[in-house]
């Protein structure tokens, strides 16, 4: 056993011993797929729209049961909140996908109901996130690239016939004058959970993150705000530390 693994085992053992007195602490892992909508407006921009983009999240939920039906949860997580700005009609093919990476910490109140093994639950809470990095992928017309030439008798169906497509996939460069990297928001979730052998709690949850902070600082008059609306479906498993360590020691 190498040194790191040994330390980890000792650490978990200590935690297990110390938490014996506590009622029900569970830690676990969760992840899932999400769809993120940018709540904003393209104003009068012709043939231009924001569209939702899919992403994923992975988190480490830590749940503390106060009583049978109420628990508190925190869940440090990595989550993508992606969206797309695209042009339509004559300008079809011009788009940009914004892939936004966040580290997020939700604080959740969980209300559960139902039987001992199979229970429903309702999550409500808030979160703080930090926009760590981003990537932009897309294609744009290149005004300097107008070959091949369009013949005099040729009809033009779309703009990328006139100017050739420039495709890109590059890191997003934050602009400190505009980008607000701290995000605060609310969340709500609903799901079901199944308790297996008093140790493992598997769950499926539909969750909604509702951004409360504009993605932009207030840097101009008549600014159009931008908020994330993130809908996701996630699965996960929580491990009851007390029961796991109790059983381990009793072997």
């Amino acid at each position: 056993m190498n040194y790191r693994l040994f330390t980890l085992v000792i650490l978990f053992d200590l935690i297990g011993r110390n938490l014996k007195a506590q009622n029900r602490l569970e830690i676990g892992i969760a992840g899932g797929y999400n769809k993120n909508y940018l709540h904003s407006s393209t104003g009068y921009r012709a043939f231009t729209t924001y569209e939702a983009e899919s992403g994923f999240e992975i988190g480490l939920p830590i749940l503390y049961h106060i009583n049978d039906w109420f628990a508190m949860q925190i869940e440090p997580a990595y989550i993508q909140k992606n969206y797309q700005i695209k042009r339509t009609g004559f300008f079809e093919g011009i788009y940009q996908k914004n892939i936004n990476n966040y580290i997020q910490l939700p604080i959740i109140a969980q209300f559960s109901f139902g039987g001992k093994q199979l229970r429903g639950f309702l999550n409500m809470g808030g979160y703080a996130g930090y926009w760590t990095s981003g990537r932009v992928k897309g294609s744009a017309p290149n005004v300097f690239d107008n070959r091949p030439e369009i013949a005099d008798n040729e009809e033009i169906d779309h703009f990328l016939q006139v100017y050739q497509r420039y495709t890109y996939n590059e890191q997003y460069n934050f602009d400190s004058r505009r980008d607000r990297r701290i995000e605060l928001g609310l969340l709500a979730g609903v799901g079901i959970q199944y308790l297996l052998q008093e140790k493992y709690r598997f769950f499926v949850e539909g969750r909604y993150y509702y951004g409360l902070t504009d993605l932009q600082k207030k840097y101009m008059t008549n600014q159009t705000p931008r908020y994330h609306d993130n809908y996701g479906i996630r699965i996960g498993c929580l491990f009851n530390l007390k029961n796991i360590f109790q059983n381990e020691r009793s072997k």
Partner: protein
């Protein structure tokens, strides 16, 4: 269970309470949809049009928010039906835009009371007030003096009057240095025109020299006083002197209504024309303070060549390409009272990473405008270009 329900209701109430913290999405209207009923409407339409469509907000030092706070109440005091107030409004527009770096920028008005007023052109006003200001060199200098005093026998010159007058001169100097002057970029269109025109004949002559002169010692492209024009001419002219893609910089457009919403930088380059070979001899481009837009882009292209040189003066400084607002989600627009806010659709960054909008592109070898020499039939800038080739 009663307590469970109590907490659920309390939590939902709290959540909904916080949910109302989002700011409302403002309605932003197209500038030309505003009604010219009052000066307040005229101001709002123009100010918002600029707010959303001007492509240089990230580098322009004009404080547009301060302009809003300062001029909104002033315009509100004006009466659109009073000719004196309309003229006062004109001066407010002039003050507001005085520092804009876009050197294509031009505000033209459609009000009959302003028919005798020039359009507002901040870059021109700045040039006019500069101690180094000089008028553009008269095309007659190239047409008559250069052809007579510098070019070998056999030169061609011509002009054609269309939407403007197009003038061109081509020939050789000492038999093996090629020379081409033209006052605007419409070369491809005139060359491919079914109608015979004098500029086309000049172009044919130059391209024949370019193709058939075996011992080219150098080329002088003269874009002094050239006000710009069609971007397709870059491939049409410079593309005949290269055999591989020539990168000169990058462009970017607006991507949203925010002042700092931009597309990524897209490469700007010249594509070689098929059937032509690379010129290895020195290519010297002559440009001056009146070389604008496409003339400046051509200077940048030539300067990007290993054998390219730029002689003359710092250019005008208006090098962002222009097209209709819809195509690149920014740039020129119309609004009440204002016929057209003429402004770049894209920002151009040279390959060195610098944006020369508003400052002009600097020459390798500066040779200032010399009116006295020109009056005597001499051309010191052309002579410096020739010395660079020799």
């Amino acid at each position: 269970m009663k307590r469970f329900n109590h907490y659920i209701i309390l939590s939902f109430t709290t959540l909904f309470g916080f949910a109302s913290c989002r700011k409302e999405i403002p309605q932003i209207n197209r500038p030309d949809d505003y009604i010219a009923g009052s000066f307040s409407e005229v101001f709002e339409a123009y100010w918002n049009g600029m707010n959303n469509n001007y492509v240089f907000w990230d580098i322009d030092t004009t404080n547009w928010d301060r302009a809003y706070r300062q001029y909104k109440p002033l315009f509100a005091q004006l009466n659109l039906t009073d000719s004196n107030d309309v003229r006062k409004g004109y001066t407010y527009f002039k003050e507001m835009t005085a520092g804009l770096i876009d050197s294509h920028y031009d505000l033209s008005f459609n009000d009959p009371w302003l028919a005798d007023s020039m359009s507002i052109n901040p870059a021109y006003q700045r040039k006019l007030n500069s101690p180094a200001y000089h008028d553009p060199i008269n095309p007659g200098h190239f047409y008559y003096t250069v052809s007579a005093n510098y070019l070998d026998q056999g030169w061609k010159r011509g002009f054609v009057n269309l939407d403007q007058q197009y003038v061109a001169v081509a020939g050789t100097i000492n038999q093996n240095i090629l020379y081409l002057y033209f006052n605007a970029f419409n070369l491809k269109s005139l060359y491919e025109s079914d109608d015979e025109n004098a500029v086309k004949i000049v172009e044919e002559h130059f391209f024949e020299l370019l193709k058939n002169t075996t011992n080219i010692k150098g080329i002088v492209l003269d874009v002094r006083g050239n006000g710009g024009g069609a971007l397709v001419d870059l491939n049409f002219l410079v593309g005949k002197m290269i055999d591989k893609r020539l990168d000169l910089g990058f462009t970017r457009s607006k991507q949203g209504n925010g002042r700092l919403d931009y597309s990524p930088w897209v490469p700007a380059f010249v594509t070689p024309e098929a059937g032509w070979k690379a010129v290895t001899a020195p290519i010297v481009i002559l440009a001056d303070a009146w070389s604008i837009s496409m003339a400046e882009m051509t200077v940048m292209a030539i300067k990007s060549l290993p054998n390219g040189h730029f002689v003359g003066e710092r250019t005008w400084g208006g090098n962002g390409p222009l097209t209709g607002n819809t195509y690149f989600n920014g740039g020129q627009f119309s609004s009440p009272l204002i016929n057209l806010t003429y402004t770049s659709s894209l920002a151009l960054k040279y390959r060195d990473g610098k944006i020369y909008e508003g400052v002009g592109f600097p020459p390798d070898l500066e040779v200032k405008y010399n009116e006295e020499a020109l009056l005597q039939g001499r051309d010191p800038q052309l002579e410096a270009a020739l010395a660079m080739i020799h």
